[in-house]
Symmetry: C2
């Protein structure tokens, strides 16, 4: 399906707005500057997004949702036909990390959200209500149903898998704002998955023998 000129403009505005908001903060970014950066008129910005406040919230939400979709696709693709659980989880986390870190958007979003939260408390709902971790719960529940994992609470297990892998990467990279080497990313994912499987692997008999 061809992208319309209107849609192209909308994307150009969103991308320009995200870059400028992240660089200069909400207060010091003008709609004029966004229009200039996007190569459109100020009027076009208003017709697509409304005022600056609405533009800000929509751009943050849309960028986040796009990232979330890419993450979900990575998880679903890698966890479709699982033969070796450890191998599948490792590639799942690799692809999921790649999906959210392949563009500068993540770091920009994090800067924006940490900086502007006092002004935009609705950002909190976005962060708490639409997190990425729950997206790992579905494949974990499937593996548990097949007896390949022991997880009575797949959502909690997803939180732990995420903490051991994505969480460690987030902490070392300060939510993606500090670069991390591929070697360190690999090491974190491999050892994190191994620990997750020691805690949640299938146990035929008594847990403690």
């Amino acid at each position: 399906m061809a992208v319309t000129a209107s849609e192209r403009k909308r994307q150009a505005i969103a991308s320009a707005a995200l870059a400028l908001f992240a660089r200069d903060g909400y207060e010091r970014t003008s709609v004029d500057a966004i229009a200039a950066e996007a190569g459109v008129s100020k009027r076009t910005v208003y017709s697509h997004y409304g005022d600056k406040e609405r533009l800000f919230m929509l751009v943050v939400r849309d960028t986040y949702e796009l990232m979330r979709e890419r993450f979900e696709e990575a998880v679903e693709t890698t966890m479709r036909d699982v033969d070796d659980v450890e191998k599948s989880l490792v590639s799942c986390l690799h692809e999921a990390v790649r999906a959210v870190t392949q563009t500068p958007e993540r770091a920009r979003l994090v800067r924006l959200i940490t900086a502007e939260l006092p002004r935009f408390p609705a950002l909190l709902d976005l962060w708490h209500g639409r997190g990425l971790t729950p997206l790992l719960a579905a494949p974990i529940a499937r593996l548990a149903a097949e007896g390949l994992l022991t997880a009575d609470d797949p959502m909690e297990a997803a939180g732990h898998l995420s903490a051991l892998t994505l969480g460690q990467i987030n902490n070392r990279s300060m939510m993606g704002t500090i670069p991390l080497s591929q070697a360190e990313t690999d090491r974190i994912i491999t050892s994190g998955v191994r620990v997750f499987l020691r805690a949640y692997g299938p146990r035929p008999g008594d847990e403690r023998c």
Copy 2:
């Protein structure tokens, strides 16, 4: 030991500088404003800290080191005489979280570091080289030596314990910039420690039975 007038002034300057840098960013914060906020002369700021660039780095470093010391003290106090490993780890993490989140400084530091890293790459060394996680390695090594844990690599185990508890709290609270309820903090620590012990608990025989 009495705090000297000079030391009091130094602390007032550091506290004012941290608050203003975090609120307005490095570029838009003047030494004049810091002096006014601290109730001292501009000359006093320079005599204590040198120029604005040096002031910035010293204030970030000192604030971070103070937080790190409080964290270390919390860990060492709670892990001194361990009887029940799970109970001790839970109170260790509770106290450690309290130590770094009891003041607004943590959120300010995070905002500053994420925002100013491009200008001050030396902040990266601080974050990567002086992390809090290694402080958990010493008690884990002691517990492993006593046979209360199975951890061949105490530093890696510390990374996993941290990820399952502090890391989850960091992620949910966006590095401490979004408020988190006490109930959620409790839940994260309790379940994180439990998973850690499933993976690193003492195993008398074969790991998989």
